[in-house]
C-alpha cells in the first residue's frame, strides 16, 4: 500500500528552486536501446568521487569482460572493471570530461569483439547475506552512485552501518531537464530496483524504503508501485516536480520534513539516499555477480537527430553514442556530459563516459542562451531560486571584488552549485562560475597551507639535526682534546 505523504506546508510555500522547461520528450517515451561495442573503450581511473583507482593490469594484457582492471585506492574509491573482453593497449593520459579540458589517467582497451564474460559468481537469494557481506560484494562490483555524484555505494553502506539508519530513500526525481535515463530504468526494470532497495535496506539495517518520484513521470510511478506492491515496507511517493528536487538534502526534507545538518551527512538523520539506477546495479551485482560495466545514458539536445536512451558500456566515447542516436542534425553550440544544469561542457568528442554520466547533450545556441552578461540589477530572483537560502548576488559581488573570505562568511560552503541561480539571472551573470572559482581557490589555499605546514616541520627538523651534529662534533672535539691533554699529562708524569 502506498503511503501518502503530505510534504511539509512550509516547504511548499517557501519559494525555492525553479521550473525549467523539461525537454524530456521524445527520449522519455522511447525504449532503451543497446549501444553495442565501440571500436575503443577508455576507462577513466578517476571516474568516481574520491581517490583515483590503481591499475592492476599491464599494457598488452588480454582481459575478459567484467575482469577487474583497477583496485580502489584509499578509503573512498571504487574498483574499475573491463566493459568488454579485449587487450589493454595503453594506460596513460586520455581526454576526460573535466571543465578544464585537461587530460586524466585512463586505461584504453581495444575490444576483440568476443565480449566473453569472466567467470561470475552470483547468489540466488542475496537477501539472506550478512550486511557486511553485502557491502563487500557491492564494493567488489565497483558500484557507484549513478545520479551524477558517482560516490562509491559500498562506502555509503558502510557509513550507514556505523550510524543507525532507519530509512532508505531511492532518488527517482530526475529533476534535470532533458534527462530521462532514470525514468526509463524505472519503467523497464522496476523489479530490479525494488529488489536492490531491499538489499540496501538489509545492508544498512533500515526499516523502510521510500522511493521519491516527481509527478511529471506518471508511468514510472505506476510501474514502481506495481513492483513495490508485494513489499509493505517499500512505498512509492509522488513528490512535486521542481529543480533541484533531486538534491539529497532537498529530497530528504520533502519526504521526511527533516533538515540534515549543514556540513553533515544524510546518515546524521538516519537516512541513506541512493539513485534508483544504483539500486538496480546493486541487485545485478549481488544476484548475478555482474560488476558495474554499463549504464543507461540519455543522448538528447537540440542538435541530436533522434534523441533517445542508450544502454552504453562504461568508457564508450561520446562520438559513438551520438552516432547511435542518429548523429548531429546541426553544429551544437555546446557538448555537455551530464544534465544541462550541473553537467560538464566538453570540447572533444572522443571523451569517454564514466559510471556517473547520466546524459550526453548536444545543445544549440538557442537552448544554451549565450548572451553577453550585463550588470547585476539586484532583482533577487536568484535569492528566491536558491534551494539553500543563500544570497547568490551578494556572494558573487564579494568574489568579483576578490574578498573570498567574506563570501565564505555568508554561506559559500553550503552552495550546491546546482545552477538554479544561474538559470534565472536576467543579466546572464555566470554566478556558478564565480562560486566554483571561489571554492577552487579556497581549496587550493588550504592545500597550499597544509603543504607549508609540512615544509615548516621539515625545515625545523633539518635545523634541529644540524644543531645536534654541530653540538656532537664540538663535544667530540672537546673530549678528544681532554684525552690528549690527559695523555700528555700522563707522559710528563711518567
Amino acid at each position: 500500500m502506498a503511503h501518502f505523504v503530505i510534504p511539509p506546508i512550509r516547504h511548499l510555500l517557501t519559494r525555492w528552486g525553479i521550473h525549467p522547461d523539461a525537454h524530456k520528450f521524445p527520449a522519455a517515451d522511447l525504449g532503451i536501446v543497446d549501444a553495442g561495442l565501440p571500436p575503443l573503450i577508455v576507462l577513466p581511473l578517476a571516474q568516481q568521487a574520491g581517490a583515483p583507482a590503481r591499475p592492476v593490469v599491464k599494457v598488452g594484457e588480454h582481459v575478459l569482460k567484467g575482469q577487474r582492471v583497477a583496485d580502489p585506492a584509499g578509503a573512498i574509491s571504487a574498483a574499475v572493471h573491463a566493459s568488454t573482453s579485449g587487450t589493454v593497449i595503453a594506460i596513460g593520459e586520455a581526454p576526460m570530461p573535466h571543465p578544464s579540458g585537461l587530460p586524466g589517467l585512463a586505461i584504453s582497451l581495444r575490444p576483440d569483439g568476443e565480449d566473453r564474460w569472466v567467470e561470475l559468481h552470483g547468489d540466488p537469494y542475496p537477501i539472506r547475506l550478512e550486511p557486511a557481506e553485502i557491502s563487500r560484494r557491492v564494493a567488489e562490483a565497483g558500484v557507484v552512485g549513478m545520479g551524477g555524484a558517482a560516490f562509491p555505494a559500498a562506502v555509503k553502506l558502510a557509513l550507514g552501518q556505523r550510524s543507525a539508519i532507519d530509512t532508505v530513500i531511492l532518488n527517482g526525481s530526475e529533476c534535470e531537464p532533458y534527462l530521462s535515463c532514470d525514468d526509463r530504468v524505472m519503467r523497464e526494470n522496476a523489479a530490479d530496483i525494488i529488489e536492490g532497495s531491499r538489499l540496501i535496506m538489509r545492508a544498512t539495517g533500515a526499516k523502510r524504503v521510500l522511493v521519491g518520484i516527481e509527478d511529471n513521470k506518471p508511468e514510472a510511478i505506476d510501474a514502481m508501485k506495481v513492483a513495490a506492491h508485494p513489499f509493505p515496507e517499500v512505498s512509492v511517493v509522488k513528490i512535486p516536480s521542481r529543480y533541484p528536487m533531486g538534491a539529497e538534502r532537498q529530497l530528504i526534507y520533502t519526504l521526511l520534513g527533516v533538515e540534515p545538518p549543514a556540513g553533515g551527512r544524510a546518515a546524521d538523520v538516519g537516512v541513506v539516499v541512493h539513485n534508483v539506477g544504483t539500486a538496480a546495479a546493486v541487485w545485478r551485482a549481488l544476484r548475478y555477480g555482474e560488476p558495474l560495466i554499463e549504464r543507461v545514458v540519455t543522448v538528447a539536445g537540440g542538435a541530436i537527430a533522434s534523441p533517445r536512451n542508450l544502454r552504453a558500456r562504461v568508457g564508450t566515447p561520446l562520438q559513438w553514442l551520438i552516432d547511435r542516436a542518429g548523429g548531429l542534425s546541426r553544429q551544437p553550440a555546446r557538448m555537455v556530459v551530464g544534465g544541462p544544469m550541473m553537467g560538464v561542457a566538453v570540447g572533444d568528442l572522443d571523451i569517454p563516459i564514466g559510471k556517473g554520466a547520466s546524459g550526453v547533450l548536444a545543445l544549440t545556441h538557442a537552448e544554451v542562451g549565450e548572451r553577453e552578461p550585463s550588470a547585476c540589477i539586484r532583482c533577487g530572483s536568484c535569492v528566491s531560486a536558491c534551494p539553500v537560502g543563500l544570497l547568490p548576488l551578494e556572494m558573487a559581488n564579494r568574489i568579483h571584488a576578490g574578498e573570498l573570505g567574506q563570501a565564505e562568511d555568508i554561506g559559500l560552503r553550503d552552495c550546491l552549485t546546482c545552477g538554479a541561480c544561474g538559470y534565472v539571472c536576467p543579466s546572464r551573470i555566470p554566478l556558478v562560475q564565480y562560486f566554483m572559482h571561489a571554492r577552487g581557490e579556497l581549496v587550493a589555499l588550504e592545500r597550499e597551507g597544509k603543504r607549508l605546514d609540512r615544509v615548516r616541520e621539515l625545515t625545523e627538523a633539518r635545523s634541529g639535526r644540524l644543531e645536534r651534529e654541530a653540538r656532537e662534533k664540538a663535544e667530540a672535539q672537546a673530549r678528544r682534546k681532554a684525552e690528549r691533554a690527559a695523555a700528555a699529562k700522563k707522559e710528563t708524569a711518567a
Binding site: R398, H400, A401
Partner: protein
Amino acid sequence: MQEVLMTLIGLVLVNNVVLVRFLGLCPFMGVSRKLDSALGMGMATTFVMTLSALAAWALEHALLLPFDLTYLRILAYIVVIAAVVQFVEMVMHKTMPDLHRVLGIYLPLITTNCAVLGVPLLNAQSGSGLGMSVLGGFGSGVGFTLVMTLFAGLRERLERAGVPEAFRGPPLAFITASLLALAFMGFTGLVPAH
C-alpha cells in the same frame, strides 16, 4: 517619560549631530570604510560623549559657575574630554585588544571630534540640568553611531560596485553623505527643537 523620548528622537533623528548640525565629520568620513570599525568607533564615541557630558556638567556647576569662570569653559572641557578619551583608550586596550587595533589611530582622534566638544558646550549654553545634559550626550552619541553604521554599510556596498575611476573613494563618499543628509531632512520639524 514622554519628554525624554521626544528629546531622544529629537537628538538622534531630527537634529542629528552629524547630518544636521554637521559636527564630528572627520571620523564620520575616516572610520566608515569598514562596518565593524564604524560600529566600534560609534560605541566608543557614545561612551566618551556620555561620560564627558556628565564630567562637563559637574565641572560647570562645581567649579566654573561658583567662581564665575565661565570664560574658561572651552579650555576646561577640552582637558576633561582628553582625560576621558585617554581613560577609554586604556580600558579598551586592556579589555578589547582587537577592537583597539581596528580603531587604532582614530581612538585618540575622538578628543578632537567637534561633536564631543560641541554637545557639552550646547548643554552648558542651554543651561540644562544633569539628567538632560547626560541625555544630550548619550542621544547625540546614539545619533552619531546610527549614522556611522548606515554610512559604513553604504560605503562597504560601494567598495564592491563598479564605481567610475574619477569617483572612487572619497568623492563618492561625500556624494553619498550628502544624499544621506538629504534623506535626514525629511525629519525636520518632526519634533519641536528644544
